[in-house]
Symmetry: C2
Subunit: 296 residues, 2 copies
Amino acid sequence: METREYMARRKAEVDVLLERYLPREEGFQKTIFEAMNYSVRAGGKRLRPILMWETYRLFGGSGREIEPFMAAIEMIHTSSLIHDDLPCMDNDELRRGKPTTWVKYGYDMAVLAGDALLIYAVETASKALSVETPDSARIARAIGLLAEKTGIYGMIGGQVVDVELTGQPIPGEKLDFIYRLKTGALLEASMMIGALLGGADEEQLNIVEQIAAEVGLAFQIQDDILDVTSTAGKLGKPVLSDEKNHKTTYVTLEGVEAARRAVEDHSARALEELSQLPGRNPELEALIRFLIAREN
Amino acid sequence: METREYMARRKAEVDVLLERYLPREEGFQKTIFEAMNYSVRAGGKRLRPILMWETYRLFGGSGREIEPFMAAIEMIHTSSLIHDDLPCMDNDELRRGKPTTWVKYGYDMAVLAGDALLIYAVETASKALSVETPDSARIARAIGLLAEKTGIYGMIGGQVVDVELTGQPIPGEKLDFIYRLKTGALLEASMMIGALLGGADEEQLNIVEQIAAEVGLAFQIQDDILDVTSTAGKLGKPVLSDEKNHKTTYVTLEGVEAARRAVEDHSARALEELSQLPGRNPELEALIRFLIAREN
């Protein structure tokens, strides 16, 4: 499949880019560098940097100030995974078939590695100021946006509600809140920062935020569907885990059929709104279609 | 004592300022707002924002863009205390006579509250962009500086080495590294951001960094001295805790007399370098003298 090849190529490019920003493993604090790099290198689709890049291109961006932000968004995503896996949170020992950070480096070092990646993401993003003739105002605003979408009104806010309701039935409105924040907010940051640095105006930025929110919901609900319809082989992780963990999902609340319709609705709205923006980026469209129709 | 009154007044002002930036305790993620606010309100000397403010004034700063940074540096300091107190780190149940965040809100919520304050500090700092005619370039650089001094080459880097060596004898060069990073880096950030936003040039910024580093060392060594020479009543916390915890400090390595001389040397250098900067701010000088000669 073409998009799959495209994703693999883009992922490889992001991996190279990430390496440029990861700390060198030397000095007294070597252990934290190793723990950070181990966690970032453990992989994943690199979806957020790719989305950022393609949105940047949609708005005609062609500079290098986007690159530290691409690295930064992946560091923040990784930071959240490290802390999610801790014994006091999900208590997961494996992620993508590898020992989680706390298993490999210890509980204390995993707390610090999560903290380290969170703030190192900001340090990395601020390197955008070192490009030739930087647009400081847009870069500063992009850093603010990154922090806002990561924080208590974004991803972390969603994690808090998710953690508080673990093992309890979750009413629909809170599930929607969790999805919008925990999953959606970083996708919003990715696309909005791409748009902002690419030169989008305020109105366009708002539209991009809406598109990313729709993509986030479709992406998360598709995740719920795959948990009940896929196989462990295809998915690369155990299936039926939500049921086993008594986790409320869109599927347990509304059923698979309603979930499929919701994914279609959200993705149709995302693509409809995308078509209202000036310019076209076929890769971005294909990426959005792929994310939503994906099988793992 | 005059400086003590001055400190109390400034602390009260910082407390009012902090309240303006703390989240309102409403919404689905209310618990995290409460945990953050509880931790920030638990108090402390507000030393870092005060140092930032006085350095800003030394360079003639008179705007409002410094205020969100004053709140931000205190949030970062609080974030580090929350994570330091966790069971997997120092396992402390009390801080300043109150239950620590994990005791009060649970282990998971304390991890998230520390994360939340860390990134909310950046979100808060970026509000400096909302002042009238902001200097975006300086604000963006100040945010980068804040992240850098907080991160793996700053405070967190120091924490990592400190955590790794817990319960082991620490050689002098590593102790120096820990002091410079774990204690010194945030003081450097405080003074450098004050200087930068106040209008300092590169050379002045370097001098300010040196001054803050000297203050940081003197401050930390004074801490070690007080642990063996003060009383719990004066200090507001148990004394002889370093010995009890088999902790290597400047005092256990070099003895109290050498420690006193080191404090004098570092503080003399700080004040000497301060006198080489243009302008004078007697409050800043008094503050530095007070910090170093303090009895709690």
